[in-house]
């Protein structure tokens, strides 16, 4: 039946039919692609989620040698009030020894405050080292218990499987003892 003369569109006007088929299909696909965007974009972070993406932290109560953990975008941010000795040890490291070479000075705004996202760059666990009795690893910084990554007092990766240093989030001092992260 499909091949009855007069029924087969190819017999009628091949070129015109091809043009119509290709142009209709192209237009249809373009339309479907454009219609897909609102669906794809709808599962990106919503406006209220984006509105929560900065966190203010008061540092006035954090004594030298203490550390606090702030929450920013659902993740912990390590804030350590470093001693002179810690700053000295972080500065003394030669870049050649580092897997992800970076000067301590490039990782801080004020040397006594180290601020870094507390998520191991290996597979996302939270390293220990914030509390007094915690294992701080072989380099006096943090130690990730999941797969044994060691970070130094500048949050730089020194040993273990993690490829990068702890990430420094965008932040700014609004006065001497207050920061806004994000």
């Amino acid at each position: 039946m499909a091949n009855t003369p007069g029924n087969n569109p190819d017999d009628l006007d091949g070129d015109r039919r091809d043009f119509l088929l290709i142009s209709t299909t192209t237009l249809g696909l373009a339309g479907v692609t454009m219609a897909a965007w609102p669906f794809i974009h709808s599962i990106n972070p919503a406006k209220d989620v984006l509105a929560l993406s900065s966190t203010e932290v008061d540092l006035s109560t954090v004594e030298v040698g203490m550390a606090i953990t702030a929450m920013w975008r659902g993740k912990p941010v390590f804030i350590r009030h470093r001693s002179a000795a810690e700053i000295e040890s972080a500065r003394a490291v030669s870049l050649d020894e580092l897997r992800d070479p970076q000067n301590d000075a490039d990782r801080v705004q004020k040397p006594e405050w180290l601020i870094a996202v507390g998520v191991c760059t290996h597979l996302g666990c939270i390293p220990s080292g914030q509390s007094l009795g915690d294992n701080k690893g072989d380099f006096g910084g943090w130690y990730c218990p999941c797969h044994g990554s060691h970070y130094d007092a500048s949050g730089r990766i020194r040993k273990g499987p993690a490829p990068f240093n702890l990430k420094v989030p965008p932040y700014a001092f609004t006065d001497d003892t207050t920061i806004v992260i994000g």
Binding site: M1, A2, T4, N7, P9, R17, L21, T24, W37, P38, F39, H41, S42, I43, N44, A46, K47, D48, V49
Partner: protein, 409 residues
């Protein structure tokens, strides 16, 4: 089933192992379709596409919706205000429900006018009625989810219909609620059903199409396909006809989505649900209004519920109530008029369903309910036997050829 016509070796290789290509060819491309289908035959495919739109928008809405009485209302507002394009997803889904019913009602009236339910298509019709019933349940539970005043009181009133059942009624209502009022367990389970039932509708649609493809589409003349000359391949003739109709329908649909998104809704549903206060004038969504009118026409609780459900379920036995051997109303002068009166009566019932139950409205509702049932139970069986029908054409092909010649002259 014949093998694929493609010369492509890869297509042949796949088709021998999983015959998707010959299946598509058999059921979509070369699928034989009567030559004389008019635009009333577009609504089946449009309904299928609306179902897909409802499922896709629903999946993405569900990613941001929270089925708990404390946060459901706020989560819907968050979708509209904060979620990227959330307003679009919600308004597509909300208006899509109304569009689905508009399309399905036209599709059903088409079936009734052209006698599409008659032998050998009774099961095709009954599967369709089942789809309609499941659709109603899905729509009702979906309307509860935004947890506005209409959601809450609609849920309360509709679930209370079951309390009309003697002896066990109250237990059933408590069971449906999962408590002693519409509350956290109710909204939670309604969300689950609302997400599950569309998958069941999709399955029923496949069965509907399966039954359809056994005896193929009916047609406006209501006569059987006799020779291959009566048919033509679905593609490209009906793909393009369906696409054209779909384009017009989408303009209609998008007008509401973009310019009148709350046209079909009730303002009261933007007030968060309050179990302590019933809104003064509660009405169901427009697509339930004719049945709501029937419910209120009967001055007895159980009676009203029974008659209302009968109004829906009577559609199942339509193939046996209609005694006429002629399918299409085109050749049935008396039935044709009764049919249009029936359509007008359904719209009238819908209008009455939104009116208060007092004075003249009550009488009109009872008369309209009377005609609704008389059409099925009295007129269909009688007119089918007594009516003198017009002569049927010999074949679809002859009629089509006649029309073509008339156009050329």
């Amino acid at each position: 089933m014949k093998r694929t016509q493609s010369n492509n070796r890869l297509i042949q290789w796949i088709d021998e192992r999983l015959p998707v290509f010959s299946y598509a060819d058999h059921n979509v491309l070369a699928y034989p379709t009567p030559k004389n289908l008019n635009y009333w035959w577009n609504y089946g495919s449009i309904a299928g596409i609306v179902l897909v739109i409802m499922i896709v928008t629903g999946i993405f809405l569900a990613m941001n919706y929270q089925p708990h009485t404390d946060v459901a209302f706020a989560s819907v507002e968050r979708i509209v205000r904060d979620v990227n394009y959330g307003w679009l997803l919600r308004y597509l889904h909300m208006n899509g429900a109304s569009m689905f019913f508009i399309v399905v009602y036209i599709h059903m009236f088409r079936g009734i006018y052209f006698g599409s339910y008659k032998a050998p298509r009774e099961i095709l019709w009954m599967v369709g009625v089942t789809i309609y019933v499941v659709m109603m349940a899905t729509a009702f539970m979906g309307y509860v989810l935004p947890w506005g005043q209409m959601s809450f009181w609609g849920a309360t009133v509709i679930t209370n219909l079951f309390s009309a059942i003697p002896i066990i009624g109250d237990y059933i209502v408590t069971w449906v609620w999962g408590g002693f009022s519409v509350d956290v367990p109710t909204i939670n389970r309604f969300f689950v059903w609302h997400y599950l039932l569309p998958a069941i509708i999709l399955g029923l649609v496949i069965v509907h199409l399966w039954a359809l493809h056994v005896h193929k589409s009916s047609n406006p003349l209501g006569i059987d396909i006799k020779t291959p000359q009566d048919m033509m391949p679905f593609h490209p003739y009906y793909t393009i006809k369906d696409l054209y109709g779909l384009g017009l329908f989408m303009i209609f649909f998008m007008y509401f989505v973009f310019f009148q998104p709350n046209f079909f809704g009730e303002a009261d549903n933007y007030i968060p649900a309050n179990p302590m206060v019933t809104p003064p004038h509660i009405v169901p969504e427009w697509y339930f209004l004719p049945f709501y009118a029937i419910l209120r026409a009967i001055p007895d609780k159980l009676g009203g519920v029974v008659v209302m459900f009968a109004g829906v379920l009577i559609l199942y036995v339509l193939p046996w109530l209609d005694t006429s051997k002629v399918r299409s109303a085109t050749f049935r002068p008396i039935y044709k008029q009764l049919f249009w009166l029936f359509v007008a009566n359904c719209l009238f019932l819908g209008w009455l369903g939104g009116k208060p139950t007092e004075g003249v409205y009550v009488i009109m509702t009872r008369l309209a309910t009377g005609y609704y049932f008389a059409f099925f139970l009295v007129l269909m069986p009688l007119v089918g036997r007594l009516e003198k029908t017009k002569p049927l054409p010999n074949s679809i092909y002859e009629e089509v050829a006649k029309k073509c010649r008339a156009k050329e002259d």
